[in-house]
Symmetry: C2
Subunit: 313 residues, 2 copies
């Protein structure tokens, strides 16, 4: 069995070593993304993509399956040469869900405790107490109710936040008021104090958090994005922070990553910027999952996590 | 029944109204802390202290009981005229425990997720990912295992932190390794990544977190103080933050409050300063509890929360 891997150069060696351990009989080849495509490369049975490359599928037009090592697949779907007749398999929670739940919960607790306000007061050496606020006084919404979003909604409910959920299709989660589809999106947003998005990047979700949407939130609301960068209209968010409509935001994903040094988000004390770390891939868990699925495919079994090209996730 | 209340001037009216509602047959009098003691004041059956006054117990030397509206009583025990033969009754969790648990848990999550590091990177517009770290990779210690400390220890254990507890006397808490007394204090501290103190202010706990104690923590540890300000030797903490031994601290209580504008803590990005808000008294719950205890004492019943003058809490 031959496997081609598209990996960023500086992170290649641990991944290669982990795959070599997990699939000792396979031959592994690191695809070199920055050179012209070659016609003489060995055809791979499987392709693993961490890092998008324009030439990868020119060289490897017909693997048995393509694996991503991320939950999001928008960057792979965007590759013009991606073979459409081959299963594209995304990583399903290789330690990322627990991280994202904790990230979202921490953002909700920080907001509720007004830690950003106290941080700004600290810069001015101001000792001003604000009235205590608990989760039971906060309406929190979760956009996206897949494995990760549902778990975030439950974690917020356990802490006694009032939780609403929004998804494309109808979901039924105990203790969480669920809204389905764009027809119910406005009702989902109305008066929310806190909203966290874990939606995938699809044509339907692009720019879903625009000015109109965010104006429906409660005054002083806080927006968290750990889904994909293009869910939020960044200029609209910035204008609403500046106007005071939003008290702030916690953003882990951006339209352009790394976030350019000149981007206004960096300098806004109301906005917490983290460098796409809310759900970092944990290499050993990811490799174990991909290797298990390759073995299953070799035995002729079906695997989970196959991307629906129409839905986009 | 006559009740004298020592309250800060700007906060007096809601407290007076709440006590008037809760004990409609009592006569209430606000003690004026800033004038010379008078000999002609009506002797109170009960005294309620929110705000320490040097003249309060000169005027009221023999109430049936003294109530504090805070869990901490160090500021009342420090009053030279406090009548020692009269029960001193402290508030027991009038909504404060839940707040303090959330404050401590949020500090632990922030530390684990390296949010202070990302905040400092944000100031420099730096996009640098650090490896993910979960609670199961963090040793967290709780100093003080009363109602609040035990609940914090349990909340950290639920999130899968490795939790140790320290108290004056032996405690037995499921899933938490407990250390008792000063003989075991060093073993409690050794290698902790995160420590939160909710100890009361007593002669034994003053300065307990000094250089020697904090040097026992893991390199890069984080110190949280939501107990009393004099538990931490502030100069030692500052020096250990500056040396890098500690990665930071989250401090809600200080030797002098409000924290003086010139205090170096304000300007340190590694130190999160909040203005004594981790367990704010919730007036209606506090008044209901004090009124219940006054009624119990009037019926000749015992009440909980009576301070042991020797232990100091």
């Amino acid at each position: 069995m031959h496997i081609a891997l598209s990996l960023p150069e500086r992170e290649s060696s641990p991944w290669m070593a982990l795959f070599a351990d997990a699939l000792p009989k396979a031959t592994l080849e690191r695809h070199e993304p920055d050179r012209s495509p070659r016609g003489d490369v060995q055809q791979a049975d499987y392709v693993v993509v961490a890092y998008p490359s324009k030439t990868l599928f020119v060289e490897q037009p017909a693997p048995k399956a393509v694996f991503t090592v991320s939950a999001g697949v928008g960057h792979v779907l965007a590759l013009a040469n991606l073979p459409r007749g081959v299963p594209l398999v995304r990583v399903e929670d290789a330690g990322m869900a627990a991280q994202m739940i904790r990230y979202a919960l921490t953002a909700a607790m920080r907001f509720t405790q007004r830690l950003d306000t106290y941080r700004r007061q600290q810069h001015a050496a101001q000792w001003i107490q604000h009235r205590p606020r608990g989760p039971s006084q906060v309406s929190a919404g979760v956009m996206g109710l897949g494995v990760i979003g549902s778990a975030i909604a439950r974690a917020l409910a356990v802490q006694r936040f009032h939780v609403r959920g929004y998804a494309r299709s109808r979901k039924d989660l105990a203790g969480i008021r669920c809204y389905a589809g764009r027809d119910e999106f406005a009702a989902f947003l109305d008066g929310l104090d806190f909203v966290v998005s874990v939606l995938p990047a699809t044509p339907e979700t692009a720019g879903i958090l625009d000015r109109d949407a965010m104006m429906r939130l409660a005054d002083g609301a806080h927006v968290v994005n750990i889904g994909r960068g293009n869910l939020v209209v960044e200029g609209d968010l910035l204008a609403l922070v500046d106007s005071g409509k939003l008290s702030g935001a916690t953003l882990d994903v951006f339209r352009e990553e790394p976030l350019p040094a000149a981007h206004p988000f960096w300098a806004r004390p109301e906005i917490t910027v983290t460098p796409h770390v809310s759900g970092l891939t944990i290499p050993d868990e990811t490799v174990a999952q991909v290797a298990d699925k390759i073995r299953a495919l070799e035995r002729g079994e079906a695997v989970s996590g196959v991307v629906d090209f129409v839905r986009g996730y």
